[in-house]
C-alpha cells in the first residue's frame, strides 16, 4: 500500500498554508489508496518543536520526519526526502506549490528517476494509483498525468488544496539524520525574507485595485492609488512591478506573494499570467483594463475593458467619486 510523503514548509514558527493544504489532501488521498500520509520538515530543530511537528496530525499526517538542515533552500530537502523515501518506500511525494516546492520536486525527480508534474489542480485515486490533473494552454484544457515506476511526484498549483482539520491526534515525530550531498551545501542563505518597500495590508480589503507592467512606470501607480481611494480599497501589485521596484512586496499578489479574494478586484495593466491568477482568481468580481485584447486576464474576468488605462482610470476615479457624492 503506497504511502504519501508531503513536504511541509515552515517559517518563523508557523507552517505554510499551502503545505497544510497539501497535508490535508495527502491524508485524503492516502486513505483512498490504502496508505498513510507522512510529512517531512527540514530546518533548525530549535524552531521545530515536538509539539509543532506533532500538530500536523491534526491535518491527517500519521508520522512527521524531522531533519536538521538549512532553511529556505531546495537541495538539502531533496537529500532528506530521497533518504526517507528510499527507506520508507513511499509511492508519492506531494508539494503544496510555491517556489521551493517546484525546486524540491524537480530535484527529487532527477534524484530518484521519477515522474514529476507541476501546477496540479486536482488529484484522484484509482485503485492504488494517483492520477494528477494539470490545466494547460492558459487553462483552456486539462491534461491527466499517470505515473509509472516506484514514485510519482505531484506539485500542486498554489491554493489548489483546501486545509482540512481532521481532528486527528498528535502525529509521531521521527528524527532523521540526513547525509547531505556535497553539492547541496554549496548554496548558502545570506539573507532570508527581506521585506522591500513599506508594509501594507491588502488581505482584509474588500476592494483591490491592482497594477501591473501596463502602468508603464512606477509613477503610474498613482492612478491606482486614486481609484482605490475613491472606491475605499487598497492597492495591490504584480510580481513584475515589485521586482522592478515600482511597488511594495507586501502588496504583491500571486505565486510568491499574497492570495486574496476581495469583493472587487480591478486589474489595471495586468496580462494575467498563471502566477498572478493563482493569487486572485477567487475574487468575487474581477474587472480588467488592458490595451491588449488578447491578454489572458480577459479569459477569467467578469468585466473586461480593452483600452488605455491612462485615459480610463482618471475618469473612472472621478465618476466613482461623483457617484458616491451624489
Amino acid at each position: 500500500m503506497p504511502s504519501i510523503l508531503v513536504y511541509v514548509l515552515h517559517y518563523d514558527g508557523a507552517f505554510n498554508k499551502n503545505s497544510l493544504g497539501a497535508v490535508s489532501e495527502g491524508a485524503k488521498l492516502a486513505s483512498a489508496i490504502g496508505g498513510e500520509c507522512h510529512a517531512i520538515v527540514v530546518g533548525d530543530k530549535a524552531g521545530l518543536s515536538d509539539e509543532l511537528c506533532a500538530s500536523l496530525g491534526g491535518y491527517g499526517a500519521t508520522k512527521v520526519f524531522r531533519a536538521e538542515g538549512p532553511e529556505g533552500l531546495a537541495q538539502p530537502v531533496v537529500d532528506a526526502m530521497a533518504q526517507v523515501i528510499r527507506a520508507g518506500g513511499h509511492g508519492y511525494a506531494l508539494f503544496g506549490g510555491g517556489l521551493l516546492g517546484f525546486e524540491i520536486g524537480a530535484g527529487l525527480a532527477a534524484r530518484l528517476d521519477a515522474g514529476v508534474a507541476m501546477e496540479i489542480t486536482a488529484v484522484r485515486a484509482e485503485g492504488s494509483k494517483l492520477i494528477a490533473e494539470r490545466p494547460i494552454l492558459g487553462d483552456s484544457a486539462i491534461s491527466e498525468i499517470h505515473y509509472k515506476g516506484d514514485l510519482g511526484i505531484i506539485i500542486s498549483r498554489l491554493n489548489a488544496f483546501e486545509i482540512r482539520e481532521t481532528g486527528g491526534g498528535a502525529a509521531a515525530v521521527e528524527d532523521v539524520a540526513v547525509e547531505y550531498s556535497p553539492w547541496s551545501t554549496k548554496a548558502t542563505m545570506v539573507q532570508r525574507g527581506e521585506q522591500r518597500g513599506e508594509q501594507v495590508n491588502i488581505e482584509d480589503a474588500d476592494v483591490l485595485v491592482a497594477g501591473g507592467r501596463g502602468l508603464g512606470k512606477a509613477e503610474g501607480f498613482q492612478l491606482c492609488e486614486d481609484l482605490a481611494g475613491a472606491l475605499g480599497g487598497a492597492v495591490a501589485a504584480t510580481r513584475a512591478v515589485v521586482d522592478a521596484g515600482w511597488y511594495s512586496y507586501s502588496a504583491q499578489i500571486g505565486q510568491t506573494g499574497k492570495s486574496v479574494a476581495p469583493k472587487l478586484y480591478l486589474a489595471a495593466g495586468i496580462s494575467g499570467a498563471i502566477q498572478h491568477k493563482v493569487g486572485m482568481q477567487n475574487s468575487e468580481n474581477i474587472v480588467a483594463i488592458n490595451k491588449d485584447a488578447n491578454a489572458p486576464i480577459f479569459e477569467f474576468s467578469d468585466l473586461g475593458i480593452v483600452g488605455d488605462l491612462n485615459k480610463i482610470l482618471p475618469k473612472l476615479t472621478e465618476a466613482v467619486k461623483a457617484k458616491k457624492g451624489g
Binding site: 531546495a74 525527480a109 532527477a110 498525468i145 553539492w183 548554496a187 545570506v190 527581506e194 476592494v207 513584475a240
Partner: protein, 263 residues
C-alpha cells in the same frame, strides 16, 4: 569562465497553441521562436561577459529539439552566444521533464561549463523546473527565478523573491541558475549579428554522440505519462467593452459596479 545557456524553441506567442488530440501532448508544429524567457538568460550571460569581473572565454547556447530548433540557436547566437550545440534525435521525442533534464545534463557534461543559465520557464509548457532537474543530474548547486546575479570572489551572489520575501543566496560554482524576467532587458540583435549567426560554429549531436541511454528518454523512458486532454469546467465568459468613447465606457463600468453594489 565558460557559460552554457539552455534555450528552447517554442510556438510563437502570436500563434494559437493547441494539443495533439491523439497524444494529449502539445502540438509543436507551426511557427516557432526562441522562448522569450531564454533571452533574459542570454542577456545575463552577456552582462557577466561584458561586466569584466571575471573573464568569460565562451558563451555556448545549448538546445534539445527537432531540426527546426536550429533557428532558436541562431537567434541565441545573434544575441551574443559564441557557438551552439543542438541535441536532436527522434529517440528524444516525448521526453518528460526528468528525461529532458537528464539528456541536457549529458550534453552539459561534455561541455564542462562553470555556469549554466536558463530562463525561468518555457513560454509553452509553463514549467519552471528543468533547471533543478539538470542541476541534480550534474551534481551542481542550483537556484531558480533569480532576479539579480553578481559574481563576487569566485562565487555567485543571487537575489530572488521566495515565499516570505526577498532571499539573498551565495552559490559556489559550477552552478545552474535560472533567471527571472525582471533580471534585465534583453538587447535586440544587430543586423550584422543576425546575418552572421549562421556562420558561428554549431555542433549537432545525437543521443549516442552525447552518451545518452536511450532507455531513459522518449515516451518509453518517461515516468510521467500525459494523456489526452479534456475541457475544463465551463466558465461563463465575462462581458467585454472596447473603449471607443471613454466617457461612455466609464459610465458602463460605474453602472456595472453599481449593479453589484460595489460602489
Amino acid at each position: 569562465m565558460k557559460i552554457c545557456v539552455l534555450v528552447k524553441e517554442v510556438p510563437d506567442a502570436a500563434v494559437q497553441k493547441r494539443l495533439d488530440p491523439a497524444t494529449g501532448r502539445m502540438d509543436r508544429g507551426g511557427e516557432k521562436n526562441l522562448n522569450p524567457y531564454d533571452t533574459h538568460a542570454i542577456e545575463a550571460a552577456m552582462q557577466i561577459k561584458e561586466g569584466g569581473v571575471v573573464p568569460v572565454e565562451e558563451v555556448v547556447a545549448v538546445t534539445m529539439g527537432p531540426d527546426s530548433a536550429v533557428r532558436a540557436l541562431h537567434k541565441a547566437v545573434s544575441l551574443g552566444a559564441d557557438r551552439s550545440v543542438h541535441l536532436t534525435d527522434a529517440a528524444l521525442s516525448g521526453s518528460d521533464v526528468n528525461a529532458t533534464g537528464y539528456a541536457l545534463a549529458k550534453v552539459l557534461e561534455r561541455e564542462q561549463p562553470d555556469l549554466v543559465l536558463l530562463g525561468q520557464q518555457s513560454d509553452d509548457g509553463e514549467c519552471y523546473t528543468i533547471g533543478a532537474v539538470v542541476a541534480d543530474h550534474l551534481h551542481m548547486p542550483s537556484l531558480t527565478q533569480v532576479v539579480k546575479l553578481d559574481v563576487e570572489d569566485g562565487k555567485l551572489r543571487c537575489e530572488r523573491q521566495a515565499e516570505y520575501g526577498y532571499d539573498t543566496v551565495a552559490v559556489e560554482l559550477p552552478a545552474v541558475i535560472s533567471v527571472g524576467d525582471a533580471i534585465n532587458e534583453p538587447r535586440y540583435p544587430s543586423l550584422k549579428a543576425i546575418m552572421g549567426a549562421k556562420k558561428k560554429p554549431l555542433d549537432t549531436l545525437s543521443t549516442s554522440d552525447a552518451g545518452i541511454e536511450s532507455a531513459r528518454v522518449g515516451v518509453e523512458g518517461s515516468k510521467a505519462q500525459w494523456t489526452a486532454a479534456k475541457a475544463p469546467p465551463a466558465k461563463q465568459a465575462g462581458q467585454i467593452i472596447e473603449d471607443e468613447d471613454t466617457n461612455e465606457t466609464v459610465e458602463k463600468i460605474v453602472a456595472w459596479l453599481d449593479e453589484r453594489k460595489l460602489i
